[in-house]
């Protein structure tokens, strides 16, 4: 603060107390500094248009890693402004409250791309300009990212909502069977990830229901096991709370966790692991899209291309907020052996065959799922 006052020369008491300059020198110094400040500001304003191009992206927290964004900014000489959000409803609300052109890029749950298309929010992408030919075939997700043959989004990252656990405190063999959670052996040592879609999907798998077949009737079958699991759990928490609980030994098992949750903790505690049980797991995938009202559509497309490039994919996969598998197989060469091991790169073929996609409920079923989830939390 003092430095600020000194620079402006406005705090003459400070100068009188801290310098031996006579009063007229102080005034003259102040005038020179004010003139310099004014000139600097004018120059900055004049120079502004040359470096003013910026890209505004509405993203998930993994995109906020400077290691991911800086190379793009340097290559294109632009600034990328990021705003993080959680939950599609929150993201869509931000877009609807913004002016057209405020946002250029959107990261969205792959299962919600059509929801954004319905609202005319997304711009068509040139499919030939995207490296989907290098993607894991299961992750192209054409049915989710395109409509009527038009591509509106592209998958950028994926992973699994499954079981994370502490090998030192839990029998890893038990973690191959979801029903172990209800066995009584781990009562009070379980946490549930606070997101209804993947956890209800996992419970559906445990009941022998495919996630794609989850309807209102099937949902009712999940009520009792969900409430039972809740009674056996210590807490239901979002990402940071779940990581903290697992890392501090508060709980030993996280239902709904996966590599995205334990990978960033692996260095501190290698015992934190994850697996896909026999019943299967839920595959999550996030997509990236350009907004229809983007003021910088070319730059926005360049950003999408960067994120889906092998380099961008590798950086996104190991982002500081959470890790996840890159959709682009070519990113494998950009990752270290250790990073690939943590991501279980070599097991992806098997995992992908055992994982089912997120449930995609319509508005009515979605409301029913959330009601059940609220009941579970409040009981």
């Amino acid at each position: 603060m003092n430095a600020f006052k000194f620079f402006l020369g406005l705090h003459q008491d400070w100068l009188r107390e801290n310098t031996t300059m006579p009063r007229n020198t102080i005034r003259s110094t102040r005038n020179r500094r004010l003139a310099a400040l004014a000139a600097g500001t004018a120059l900055a304003l004049l120079a502004a248009p040359a470096s003013a191009q910026s890209l505004n992206a509405l993203v998930w927290c993994d995109h906020a890693d400077p290691e991911l964004i800086r190379p793009f900014e340097q290559e294109h000489g632009v600034r990328v402004n990021l705003r993080e959000y959680e939950g599609t409803a929150a993201g869509l609300a931000i877009l609807q409250q913004s002016r057209p052109g405020d946002w250029d890029v959107l990261v969205i749950d792959a299962v919600d791309v059509h929801r954004a298309v319905d609202l005319d929010l997304l711009a068509p992408l040139p499919a030939e300009a995207l490296p989907t030919a290098d993607f894991f075939p299961e992750l192209v997700l054409e049915d989710l990212n395109t409509r009527d043959g038009i591509t509106y989004a592209v998958t950028e990252k994926f992973g699994y909502n499954t079981i994370s656990y502490n090998r030192a405190a839990v029998d890893p063999v038990d973690m191959n069977d979801l029903s172990a959670l209800w066995s009584g052996r781990y009562d009070g040592r379980i946490a549930i990830y606070d997101y209804y879609l993947p956890v209800l999907g996992m419970l559906a798998l445990n009941e022998g229901i495919d996630t794609a077949d989850l309807d209102a009737e099937a949902l009712e079958r999940l009520r009792a096991p969900l409430l039972d699991l809740r009674a056996r759990s210590r807490q239901v928490g979002e990402v940071v709370a779940s990581q903290t609980a697992l890392a501090t030994g508060e709980v030993d098992i996280l239902v709904g966790g996966g590599e995205w949750l334990t990978a960033v903790l692996a260095e501190e505690n290698p015992d934190l692991d994850w697996t896909i049980p026999d019943q299967g797991a839920v595959l999550w995938a996030q997509s990236i899209a350009v907004l229809a009202d983007s003021a910088n559509p070319d730059l926005a497309l360049a950003f999408v291309q960067y994120i889906t490039s092998p380099q961008g994919q590798a950086r996104l996969a190991t982002s500081s907020c959470y890790w996840g598998m890159p959709a682009n197989i070519a990113a494998g060469t950009e990752l270290t052996d250790e990073q690939r091991a943590i991501l279980r790169w070599d097991e992806q073929d098997t995992f992908l065959t055992r994982a089912q996609r997120y449930p995609v409920p319509d508005a009515e079923l979605d409301a029913a799922m959330q009601d059940l989830w609220t009941d579970m939390l409040q009981n």
């Binding site: 929150a90 606070d194 210590r234 807490q235 928490g237 903290t244 501090t248 409040q378």
Partner: protein
């Protein structure tokens, strides 16, 4: 008698404050109130005058329970904070030498200097199974197994009390130091012991400060989202948490607005009760 010029000057002076309140309180509140009567159909907000959101709130146990949980936690926090803050303020006002009082107050408000979120996460680590308290108790042999404190209502209340004790200490201290020592002397002259002096003289005179602090605690506590979200482990949901769920997950702005209006009504009732009680005290 005021002249027209004085009137204009008066309005001119008040106008910025009125405009501020109208723009940043009255208008947003009116919009929120209007939205609370709209309805979410599918994923689309349909404007109109519907009471569905209010009916749903009072008939759906999981939602209504949020209000009850909020009131319970707020009541506990207010009572515990008062019980701790009054003696602390008393000690600072009457037992700490005057030259050290300023330092004591600075120490009392020290927790305000750290981020609210960081402070809550710090409590999570203190109260955890492997946290400071459990380790100390286990190492001294006072307990055989770790106590379960985090992700409980106890943790939420602890986080709140840590914050509000400081707030209440300040308001009560400000009241205590204004009391003339002659009140206590007069009571002693009339034969009152220390306890009787406190009960019949000091406490009634400081009650306005206590009530003001308690009301502030009530308002800030019942509307808080961060502390229960971090420390409560989602084992019970308060009303602000449920409001956030409507916004972040469902995109149900009408329902969230209705719940916010209900929360505001509760705070208004608390304010009216407090104001009425203070007026009665003055009479």
């Amino acid at each position: 008698m005021t002249t027209a010029r004085e009137n204009r000057l008066g309005w001119g002076l008040v106008a910025p404050a009125l405009a501020w309140v109208a723009l940043f309180f009255a208008l947003p509140f009116a919009l929120m109130l209007g939205l609370s009567f709209a309805r979410l159909e599918g994923r689309v907000v349909v404007q109109g005058f519907h009471l569905d959101n209010y009916l749903r709130f009072f008939t759906e146990p999981a939602l209504f329970r949020g209000l009850i949980v909020s009131l319970e936690i707020t009541a506990i926090v207010t009572v515990v904070s008062l019980a701790l803050a009054y003696p602390l303020a008393w000690i600072i006002a009457f037992r700490v030498p005057r030259r050290w009082q300023r330092l004591a107050l600075v120490l009392a408000i020290l927790p305000f200097w750290t981020s609210y979120v960081v402070r809550s996460y710090a409590w999570l680590l203190v109260l955890g199974q492997n946290g400071v308290i459990n380790r100390a108790l286990l190492s001294t042999g006072l307990i055989d197994a770790p106590l379960i404190m985090s992700a409980t209502r106890f943790a939420t209340v602890t986080g709140f009390v840590h914050f509000f004790v400081m707030l209440l200490t300040l308001t009560i201290y400000a009241n205590l130091v204004q009391l003339s020592p002659n009140y206590a002397r007069a009571a002693a002259d009339l034969g009152a012991g220390r306890l009787a002096t406190f009960r019949h003289v000091i406490l009634p005179l400081t009650l306005p400060g206590v009530m003001t602090g308690a009301f502030l605690t009530f308002v800030l506590c019942i509307g808080d989202y961060i502390t229960p979200q971090i420390l409560g482990g989602n084992n019970e949901l308060t009303l602000p948490q449920l409001i956030m769920m409507q916004l972040g997950r469902r995109g149900d702005f009408p329902m969230a607005s209705a719940m916010a209006v209900i929360l505001m009504a509760v705070v208004t009732l608390a304010y009216l009760a407090c104001a009425r009680w203070l007026r009665m005290e003055r009479v």
